[in-house]
């Protein structure tokens, strides 16, 4: 039985154009859609699969403002069965602060008889892109960490739970095998996140969410400011629309001398 904690973050959807706040400290929420990143959607899926394969529990954790409850509910709707929401403005926290806050939750839950054997996180946050929270968390907890994998399974080996995690590395597909408790960070691509069902959504609404405040005063990020690069003027020559443009395209290929064989 493995109890899994999966950490998710409410982030602005960066696939559409963003606007920054006047002080350059954040994405202006008035003009943004918000989401959970692909990496974290896959981490949630892996948490739910692992919990159900081992008869354990999958708990979702977020650190964010009141609106981040939307991402918590999304994870509950696809199979997480418990939730913790550390209510705070995530833009005011640096990666070391976030790691320390997650560690505080893990320790408090453990003291309350709910240890989390496996903590899953996304490999990097889609907004702040710090690429380090999972690793810092591992040091906070004194646990081993596997970073940037796409597949995760938990099995008993000689009576002890072991996580097998694998992903693509520079030398090929790499496998790690680590005794629990451990921390693992997830990249998208290994599993297909499931869609919530209507009963799933209904059930999610009834699950109580543990609300917490920050455990310690944050040191804050080392951010001076964010800015948007100036838009470069476009001088694209549109050859046409749809398949009718094919002759103009092939004219261009001839002109560039790349058609000869």
């Amino acid at each position: 039985m493995a109890s899994v904690l999966v950490c998710v973050k409410r982030v602005p959807d960066s696939s559409s154009e963003i606007v920054l706040t006047d002080d350059g400290q954040a994405v202006d929420g008035r003009f943004a859609g918000f989401t959970m990143s692909q990496h974290e959607q896959c981490a949630v899926e892996l948490a739910v699969q692992t919990a159900s394969a081992t008869g354990g529990e999958a708990t979702v954790l977020t650190l964010g403002d009141a609106d981040a409850l939307e991402q918590v509910r999304a994870a509950l709707a696809v199979g997480c069965t418990a939730a913790t929401h550390v209510v705070a403005d995530s833009q005011q926290l640096g990666p070391a602060d976030v790691a320390r806050e997650i560690a505080a939750v893990v320790r408090d839950h453990e003291a309350a008889g709910r240890p989390h054997d496996l903590v899953l996180l996304g490999h990097d946050a889609a907004d702040t892109g710090d690429f380090q929270v999972g690793i810092r968390l591992a040091y906070e907890l004194g646990r081993p960490v596997v970073n940037g994998v796409t597949r995760v399974t938990v099995e008993e080996v000689d009576g002890r739970p072991v996580v097998t995690a694998s992903g693509d590395g520079p030398d090929g597909h790499e496998t790690y095998r680590v005794p629990l408790p451990a921390v693992v960070t997830v990249l998208e691509g290994g599993v297909e996140p499931r869609y919530p069902t209507v009963p799933g959504r209904m059930k999610a609404k009834k699950i109580p969410v543990e609300e917490r405040e920050l455990a310690a005063a944050p040191a804050g990020p080392a951010r001076v400011r964010w800015s948007l690069p100036p838009a470069a003027p476009s001088d694209v020559h549109v050859l046409g629309k749809g398949p009718e443009a094919a002759p103009a395209v092939v004219d261009l290929l001839e002109q560039l001398g790349v058609l000869a064989r």
Binding site: Q132, V145, G189, S227, G240
Partner: protein, 327 residues
């Protein structure tokens, strides 16, 4: 001292992004009055690698060897870096923004209790030391102040162009075989599956590259694109979405965490043109973007574009090429 973690390809040569990081380190060294740049390499340093590093102005090449480094373990590599850091009395530690580079430096920063900046593209000032780095999926740039020592950061792939030093360095080999604590070896690679053969060489030197992104739609959506590539004698280059979803092998990826290409013509089909993709294709002489969205960055940055569904446009181009060749 500035210390740069240099990664090797399967043939034992320094990877391009590590050479870019050395180039970045030299510009930092110049700004700082010529502090030496040292490299650290895990495993064997071949004479070819040593002379490559000399060409990039490296003073000492620290080689980390011994049983603790036989298989990759992020914590073990970071402990090795700590050894070299102490021996070389470095104040700055850099790596390329690769999976390995980012992971090892995050370990180092966590162990040292210092900040780490990921995906830096430039530095602004030395005192205070302010870097610019990619945030919000590359849409925005963060100015971040790094005031802790050692100063730890990764450099985004292809943010600078790799350029050898005006005066080569001695690249003196210094060997280290530190003891690695058992706890730093718990999370290590226990097996590696043979990678798909790396054919990215032909991509980097190709005159024409046909690009494919999420717009291909599925693993089975590449037939027309592959036919176009075949008709033009061009390799296929893809976005990270395509490799992450397993539609095409990683060696075909173009971008910050893939290859940098500089063809006469790049034909990106169904690729939005995110900054990380652009980093790999911005030196193409001409770009013909095929995209349903006239406002996609790839379209606005291209020299030429066709607005439409690639599954209709590409077959029509293929037919037109065949028709002209027959005629």
């Amino acid at each position: 001292m500035i210390l740069v973690l240099v990664e090797k390809d399967l043939a034992g040569a320094a990877v391009e992004v590590s050479l870019e990081t050395l180039t970045f380190a030299r510009s930092l060294s110049d700004a700082g009055g010529g502090v030496p740049v040292d490299a650290v390499v895990v495993g064997d340093v071949s004479p070819a690698l040593q002379s490559q590093l000399a060409a990039y102005g490296v003073r000492d090449v620290h080689a980390l060897g011994g049983p603790g480094f036989a298989a990759f373990a992020g914590a073990a590599w970071a402990s090795g870096l700590e050894t070299v850091l102490a021996a070389s009395r470095s104040v700055v530690v850099m790596a390329a923004g690769t999976p390995r580079g980012g992971e090892v430096l995050a370990h180092l920063a966590a162990r040292s209790g210092v900040a780490m900046a990921a995906n830096v593209v430039a530095f602004d000032g030395l005192a205070p030391f302010v870097v610019r780095r990619q945030v919000v999926g590359g849409q925005a740039v963060e100015e971040m102040q790094l005031s802790t020592r050692p100063t730890v950061f990764t450099v985004a792939g292809h943010a600078v162009e790799a350029a050898p030093a005006a005066t080569p360095g001695p690249a003196t080999l210094v060997e280290h075989a530190p003891e690695v604590a058992e706890s730093d070896l718990v999370a290590r690679v226990v097996s590696t599956e043979e990678p798909a053969p790396d054919l990215s060489g032909s991509l980097k030197s190709a005159r024409v590259v046909v690009g494919a992104g999420r717009g291909a739609g599925s693993e089975g959506g590449f037939d027309d694109l592959l036919e176009l590539a075949d008709l033009l004698g061009a390799p296929l280059g893809v976005s990270r979405v395509v490799t992450s979803l397993g539609w095409r092998p990683h060696h075909e990826q173009v971008g910050q965490t893939g290859s940098r290409i500089s063809p006469d013509l790049y034909i990106p089909c169904g690729i939005s043109g995110a900054i990380q993709h652009w980093a790999g294709c911005s030196s193409a002489k001409a770009i013909l973007a095929i995209n349903t969205d006239p406002d996609a960055p790839m379209v606005t940055k291209a020299t030429h574009a066709v607005i439409g569904d690639l599954h209709e446009v590409v077959p029509a181009i293929n037919a037109e090429i065949r028709r002209r060749r027959a005629g």
